[in-house]
Amino acid sequence: MTLFWTVRTITHVASVLTFGLVVGVIGQAKAFTAYVSNEKSNTVSVIDTDKMETVKTIKVGQRPRGIELTKDDKYCLVAVGDDDTIQMIDTKSGEVIANLPSGPDPELFVLSPNGKVLYVANENDNTVTIIDMEKRVRIGEVQVGVEPEGMGISPDGKILVNTSETTNMAHFIDTDARKIIANVLVDSRPRFAAFKSDGSELWVSSEVGGTVSIIDPVKHQVTKKINFAIPGLRSESIQPVGINITKDGKTGFVALGPANRIAVIDGVTHDVKKYLLVGQRVWHMAFTPDEKYLLTTNGLSNDVSVIDVASLKVIKSIQVGELPWGVTITKQ
């Protein structure tokens, strides 16, 4: 533990120094707004990515977790599981203006690429709920495996992938027919699913299994599994959750939970290139739209780490609320 903190402190000192340089060089970096859900505080922290600090805190419902902006950035959607709804925050006023009929205990959700349909995983009743975003009404559901969690959608919007944590599968759902067309067995407790931007690969993280499965979305087959090994850490503490892949598909980032690290993956060879030390129990991440920075939510240290994507360095920690869970960043 002492060693860990020492390393972290050094990283922090280094990051402050680096940050000074980066700001000096970049200076004019475009400001985006990041929204972070704080599971314990029942708030959403608003971060100015230029100032790299929390500029506002919005009160939301009970136990906010999954968080995503609408395609036009007008609303920030946040799943408040213990209130059985998804709240819509008006990003201009910073106020909750509506509750969506998400079904019970929503956790993660995904918007269709055109922004018109919202797909929500309902962990408690083995269901994916489908919501029409214009009318804000529930228009259907699909039965999936036990404890649905991760939600990924293909770039063309035709295939929705849901992962079920106790069934240990990625379910491929045809969004037109709203039917499961394939199931792929992955390692234990799959938490997150992400497509490459060209739709050529689907990455699924298995939190308990400790792996990321690379799946061919056409053949519905696991083509490769990424394993992680960090010197000095027990394999039990390496628990992959969030996945973010750069638009060019060349680099993937995987949040390793209580290993307190982000794995940097070569998007082509799928080799682990590097481990970046961030805060404690890191679960989810978001890129700034220019992909200069990657923000990570560190649940147990109540902060967000900022990774400089080009140099693959952690350059800053930003204090947020208690148990930060998810993060989303505006496109403009």
């Binding site: 533990m1 205990d105 962990e123 408690n124 083995n126 495996g145 036990v146 404890e147 944590e165 106790t166 069934t167 240990n168 599968m169 379910h171 499961i180 199931n183 792929v184 067995l185 390692d187 234990s188 407790r189 298995s206 939190e207 308990v208 299994g209 400790g210 087959q221 696991v222 599994k225 394993n227 090994a229 027990r234 394999s235 039990e236 503490s237 628990q239 209580p258």
Partner: protein
Amino acid sequence: MNEIKGDLAGSTALIRFEVLALVSLLGLDLAAHAQDAIDIKIGYLRRAQHQETISLVQMPPPDNGLAGAQMATTDNNTTGRFLNQRYSLVDLHLKAGDDPATAVAELASQGISLIVADLPADDLLKAAEAGKADHILFFNAAATDDRLRQKDCRANVIHTAPSRAMLADGLAQYLVWKKWVRWFLVVGSHERDKLFAAALTRAANRFGAKIVEQREFKDTGGARRTDSGVVQIQQQIPVFTQQAPSYDVLVAADESEVFANNLPYRTWDPRPVAGSAGLVPTSWDASNSLWGGIQMQDRFIAQNKRLMTALDMQAWTAVRMIGEAASRQNSADPKKILDFLKGPELALGAFKGQKLTLRDWDLQLRQPILLTDGRTIVSVSPQPGFLHQFSELDTLGYDRPETQCKLQ
């Protein structure tokens, strides 16, 4: 697999081995879809053990354990729906005087080769012996006896129940972390109370606690709960606990539920109580919502209209282990299932914050131990700082170098 992780050369070999294992596993995964339907029948063998408890709210429900196995069967079938596997559970309830060997033969005649057992140690050993010829694999979901993992271990018995040593070690680590190292140990007069006391004594020695005094609480018979009995208890417990040497915590070994739950708030000295009452080590508690546990609790309450007990969890885990192995191996063959469960590929998710695996030396499931006061989870062991060269979970219970088990 874990034993070679220490050295660098070993690790390289290990990684290679894992890659090979993975490739073969993938092959099986893909094959799974094209297979014919598989029926997986699981036996649930139990003997009624009526347990009176001091607390009315802790009385074990009639389907204690069975309900967990049933929920895991439902969970397995949800997965099975996608893999063309069908799971069913056959409940066999032994009455007083029934021979477990006959029951095993009865289950075997129904084509069952996987049995979850809620049996006392001796019954379990009889059942395991009877099932040997038919290659039946047993899952001990209930018996905490350390001897079943030591000299009485069996090659066809997997333990999902934690042993007394694991429970005692989990508690001891927390008390030592808390620096409550002077223990006043009060032990019941029944055999199982003494076994738990022995595990607590071993734990104290391992982790640096000191038993400043050990006292026996004799069961003189009588009802656990009586109308207005509280008036007497309030008089008796302070008297019983007085004149102890200076201590930090009273640790009670009372599996028979004779006195421990009467101790808190009534001791002569104002001290916390742990062990069989107060802060209790367990595999599961209805208050646990950590690591997705809330979904487990919600699902269980929806299906059973009651709270989930530790025995329910241990039975759920056993049936889920079968489901996990059968879905990965696409087979219900007990040998294939045992091989998978013992091997490096098992990474069972059971709402404990990390993967659970089997100790290959005694077939005990590695698992964290929850410490609960019955209303919240106070802590989870292993505690920070209790290190181990292979797995911190192996700081709980009998580790490989200490084992007396020869699997056969």
